[in-house]
């Protein structure tokens, strides 16, 4: 298998992994490049002690963390902005991120996921959004399945609390600031 074939085989996985490790959607293409440059450099060192996807996922996590660190200020601004739009403070209609209902929902979800520790966020995203099983995630992250379920439980609690908070805001404050499912769906 040459590198192009390797790329073709794994690019969708890497793309998805970056999305799930917190790289903003518009930055995923750049992050994909970063990952495969690292992979190209490190592939000879891969010793098959773990699955290739586990190895790739670990690289994705590092790349995502690096991008967050390097663009910390930018991310903070974006995160604050998204949170503000989702949870109140600015008119949604003024922001391109929230011009459509789907974008609003997405931004809201991102802000909720950002409140989770990385390890919980990843498990939550892989399980709830990508439909992976606990065993698959355990294998991918190379941690016991019990740990995965524990992280999922905690992540779900955070998610449910955030949704409850949205409901209470929706009931109490200006309708334009709250997420309206009828708009989203």
């Amino acid at each position: 298998m040459d590198f192009r074939a390797f790329y073709d085989h794994h690019v969708r996985f890497v793309w998805r992994a970056l999305l799930r490790t917190g790289v903003p959607e518009h930055e995923v293409p750049d992050a994909v490049q970063d990952v495969f440059v690292v992979v190209h450099r490190k592939l000879p060192e891969f010793e098959a002690r773990s699955k290739i996807t586990t190895w790739l996922f670990a690289i994705c996590i590092r790349v995502a963390a690096d991008r967050r660190r390097l663009a910390h200020g930018r991310y903070e601004v974006l995160a604050a902005h998204v949170t503000e739009c989702a949870f109140g403070g600015e008119s949604a209609a003024d922001d391109p991120l929230v011009q459509t209902a789907k974008q609003r929902a997405r931004a809201t979800l991102e802000s909720i996921l950002d409140r989770m520790p990385d390890e919980q966020r990843i498990v939550f995203a892989l399980f709830e959004l990508d439909g992976m099983t606990g065993n698959e995630i355990a294998e991918l992250l190379d941690v016991p399945v019990g740990t995965i379920r524990s992280r999922l439980r905690l992540a779900r609690a955070t998610f449910e609390q955030s949704v409850a908070r949205l409901h209470s805001r929706e009931a109490a404050s200006a309708p334009s600031l709250a997420l309206r499912p009828s708009e989203v769906l």
Binding site: M1, F3, F6, V11, F13, P44, K51, L109, E136, P181
Partner: protein
């Protein structure tokens, strides 16, 4: 203990459902993947072009082998590199592809299958198209290591006799191969050319090293000088192959493609055809 049921399957909360629904991603399209590859290929080391394929353990060995050989003479270099090519070849049949023998999560199977099907067509198509439009793409979608490594070597008789690439029968001198390769190749090198072989090899080696160091223009100049100095040299084919790669490496894909087509026409039985065809338009 089994997994809990997914929220999307159970929740009746419209808000929660909408939030989760918003993040379901179909993933990148084939076109996006190909576009990404084009960009990525420009970032990968140019050295892949001449066999230092960092993407394989064999490539790593090749680099070690080549660097050790420097300083012990061209013959030793060629022998060492050919041995490395043997190792690379052995590795290429399975020793360095652990990811292929291991299973993937079921959720990946669908995307992998779709990518594999698209990859097989996209790979060949994009190899051809990228060869004409973007050099590194052609370079990085590397041909098997042993073939690249051997083809990139100055093909002095030692290499020819020890070649392990599938395209080149063993125990054939380059003169003998040339005699079988068609009209252009039937002209034997002159005695003067044969005696100039060591210096011609040295020139070729310098060109190859420059190419490996991604000094594409310098490599091209060296190879051009070699061609002027040894117009009927025994290593004309090998020099032309490296020149094509150097052109491509310099971003002159059209010229590389044209030269590659000429090469294919002039040397229809060349052991380097497989490498050169990657640059044809």
């Amino acid at each position: 203990m089994s997994d809990p049921v997914r929220l999307l399957s159970t929740t009746r909360d419209g808000t929660a459902r909408a939030l989760l629904d918003s993040a379901l991603s179909p993933g990148p399209t084939n076109a996006e993947c190909d576009a990404q590859w084009s960009l990525l290929a420009r970032k990968l080391p140019q050295a892949v072009v001449v066999g230092a394929a960092a993407g394989t353990a064999g490539g790593a060995l090749a680099k070690v082998g080549a660097s050790k050989a420097v300083g012990v003479g061209i013959g030793a270099l060629v022998k060492g590199a050919v041995i490395v090519a043997v190792l690379g070849s052995a590795a290429a049949v399975g020793l360095t592809r652990p990811w292929e023998s291991r299973g993937e999560p079921a959720y990946l199977a669908a995307s992998s299958a779709s990518s594999a099907s698209s990859a097989s067509s996209a790979s060949s198509a994009s190899s051809a198209s990228s060869a004409s439009s973007a050099v590194p793409a052609a370079a990085a979608s590397a041909v098997p290591l042993a073939v690249v490594e051997a083809s990139a070597l100055p093909d002095v008789p030692v290499a020819a006799s020890a070649r392990v690439g599938a395209d080149a029968p063993a125990s054939r001198s380059s003169a003998a191969r040339r005699a079988q390769s068609g009209a252009v190749e039937t002209a034997p090198a002159s005695a003067a050319d044969e005696t100039a072989l060591p210096s011609e090899s040295a020139s070729l080696l310098r060109g190859r090293q420059l190419l490996r160091a991604s000094q594409c223009e310098a490599a091209l100049a060296e190879l051009k000088a070699g061609a002027a100095r040894y117009p009927h040299g025994a290593l004309a084919q090998e020099r032309e192959v490296l020149s094509i790669e150097a052109l491509a490496c310099s971003g002159r894909a059209l010229e590389a493609g044209a030269r590659a087509e000429t090469f294919v026409r002039d040397y229809p039985a060349s052991p380097h055809l497989r490498t050169v065809r990657r640059f044809t338009r």
